[in-house]
Amino acid sequence: MNNNMARRRLLREIKETEFVLKELNLFLDTHPDHREALEKFQKFEQMSKKLKSEYERMFGPLTPSVNNNTETWEWIQGPWPWENR
């Protein structure tokens, strides 16, 4: 599996996990005491954290607040989300 395929696969997993979190977020906005949704949110939040730190370690930062490279500012390196690569 080439590097870009691995990157896109991991990014897809992050997008799926974060979409679940976004749905739970909106649901919880109008159901703030819903136990089951609160538990699911915690579970997916942990998954998302783990996936994102794995992605950032391998492929660079998802936000400018993360930069693991002491030689260069990797944040500005493409591909950018609107680029079909």
């Binding site: 400018p64 500005i76 493409g78 950018w80 609107w82």
Partner: protein, 197 residues
């Protein structure tokens, strides 16, 4: 994509209502050189940039402008929240109040609702970055004009901060433009619309 953070870039705590000031400051919410236009301008220009530095800088400054939009909205809200109808009636905010009550609406101080015609996206890195330099200076002048009419230190310290950010953005856009022009000279850039590219 974006994720909201529940905080302002610097704290804003206005003690004295001042609907007159609110009617002036609203221009940096939805006026021709305001923060809404700034964020839309930069975030839209990113798509046609060729250079990773320009894509990153426009993303980051466009994002900071969204944070500034919220700060300007906070100023307008806090300046009007405890103002009485009598205070509003005898201020330049009276006409605004008739249309919007104390809601925060993207409009200029002179009453024009926000318009995309006040910003530009040309699809050319040099044209767009030169536009951005001018935009930062125009926003800086607007903040200067507000400062001339404002003597509440709770407000001026926020306006001075926002003014200073325009100056920093101008600097960074200038550096980015210089880099792109050096690359054009060295013919490392394509599709910028110049014959020699």
């Amino acid at each position: 994509m974006w994720e909201y953070q529940k905080k302002l870039q610097i704290p804003i705590n206005i003690k004295h209502p001042d609907p007159k000031l609110a009617a002036f400051i609203i221009s940096q919410y939805g006026g021709p050189d305001g923060e809404l236009g700034a964020s839309m301008r930069y975030l839209s220009q990113r798509f046609s940039m060729k250079d990773d530095m320009a894509k990153g800088l426009l993303t980051d400054i466009g994002t900071e402008e969204l944070a500034h939009l919220e700060m300007v909205g906070t100023l307008v809200h806090q300046l009007t929240k405890n103002a009485t109808t009598g205070e509003i009636e005898n201020s330049p905010m009276a006409a605004y109040y008739i249309d919007r009550t104390k809601g925060v609406y993207p409009t200029s101080a002179s009453g024009f609702p926000w318009s995309a015609a006040s910003m530009a996206v040309k699809g050319d890195p040099i044209a767009d970055l030169v536009e951005d330099l001018a935009a930062e200076q125009k926003a800086r002048v607007t903040y200067d004009n507000i400062l001339k009419m404002c003597d509440d230190p709770d407000v001026t310290q926020v306006i001075k901060f926002l003014r200073e950010r325009e100056v920093v953005h101008f600097q960074r856009f200038g550096e980015c433009l210089n880099r792109i022009q050096e690359n054009v000279g060295a013919k490392r850039v394509t599709g910028c619309g110049m014959k020699d590219c």
